[in-house]
Symmetry: D2
Subunit: 142 residues, 4 copies
Amino acid sequence: MLSNIRTTRIEWCDCDPAGIIFYPRYFEIFDTCTTALIERALGMNKIEYLRAYDFAGHPVVETRARFRQPTRFGDDVSIETKLVECGRSSFKLEHRLSKAGALAVEGYETRVWVKRGGGDAQRIQSQEIPAAVLTRFEASKI
Amino acid sequence: MLSNIRTTRIEWCDCDPAGIIFYPRYFEIFDTCTTALIERALGMNKIEYLRAYDFAGHPVVETRARFRQPTRFGDDVSIETKLVECGRSSFKLEHRLSKAGALAVEGYETRVWVKRGGGDAQRIQSQEIPAAVLTRFEASKI
Amino acid sequence: MLSNIRTTRIEWCDCDPAGIIFYPRYFEIFDTCTTALIERALGMNKIEYLRAYDFAGHPVVETRARFRQPTRFGDDVSIETKLVECGRSSFKLEHRLSKAGALAVEGYETRVWVKRGGGDAQRIQSQEIPAAVLTRFEASKI
Amino acid sequence: MLSNIRTTRIEWCDCDPAGIIFYPRYFEIFDTCTTALIERALGMNKIEYLRAYDFAGHPVVETRARFRQPTRFGDDVSIETKLVECGRSSFKLEHRLSKAGALAVEGYETRVWVKRGGGDAQRIQSQEIPAAVLTRFEASKI
């Protein structure tokens, strides 16, 4: 299925007084990787795809991660992201972050496709993933 | 076992263009809650307890969370944090974040007690939790 | 003029590998202080006042800060925020962050009142601050 | 004098509910740019140069910025960073962040070279910039 590899660098601003990455930063990295994956599948950037499919986003409803070895500022890391399951209104992804070829973090997430709800502009609710998106998610062997 | 309740407010800076909290911020909140719990148990702040027990911190090695309903800037939330298990060099915590009395997020984490390693000041490795700390963790019914 | 005092705690997640606060976090703190000041003046929270006055926010167009002494995780700090000038579509604020009574950081910012622009939902442009808001800004001696 | 150009992308996680970048993120970007500049000048990464010159870092003591136009998630930006002045224990930098060739943000910062102080491992104090570093700062026409 759909997959993508990104590289990034762990920066000073990502690290805590122990000198290692502050672990919530990994979820920021994973969020960016998921966006990059969907952008590639749909052939447009996030501002464009939110507008094209008229929805509010794809928030995470469940996530977990295993931190196998710490990373530090200056570390160049590589993240492989895969779409591993796709339902009617939700989808699952896996992220594998490696440093110098060794697995450092595994992340798993379930996301839902949401729109703004009825009368209340503040409310969001899940909706079916558009067929055109599903087709692109399944067709992609990138 | 050891537990604690904190309240905080979701701020504009915690939220993303969908107008809801950007989920990695929950892990920042949970990290602060864990620190608060340990500070209460040990009767000193984090700078002091890192020094008193001469260790490098208690990084997370595994975590998961379920996001049941979104929170928004201006929301006052309450987080109940519990120490649910304590081993020789690791311990587990649960966080339950509520908004207006309704559960919004559940978080689970496993942490290890680490020290700086041998010759390399950059390396950290797990070590046994000091007996004095374990006693405090178990004695606390706060 | 309008002023406000908030207290907060510098947390582990705010600090960098030097063990002191990572300075961009001060701007996050200042942003929250500005919101708190406006919420008090207008008597509603930010979600409500954005809706009540139908505008997109009050982004910073210019800022500067002096960091006189570092703060560390565990430090309780106090921030005094003042509205020091108010024009037709912009206003200026000062923040003074103190630790144990000693001034640690001074911050200055100029903000503009903006609305969504014409045809493009993505575009924002400055507009006049509503008279009702100006009255509240000037009346407040809180 | 020493200068550098970096490119980065504004991400979803950098933006606030107004859909534009939350301005403190610019200071995170500038901090990373300053590190990149020094790394190039000294020919080593930050972990290495902190160790090689045995110091605690180069914290910002004063900064200011002008935000001329907002950036949004998906925007590719370019940042030109220049060392504009170098004293005995402090140095000044300028950052110019552009989007599609147009200047979006100007940033200015003054930093000091600091070491850990006397008996207290928590205390930091300014010290003279090593001659070897000054030579590299001045020699670099990169």
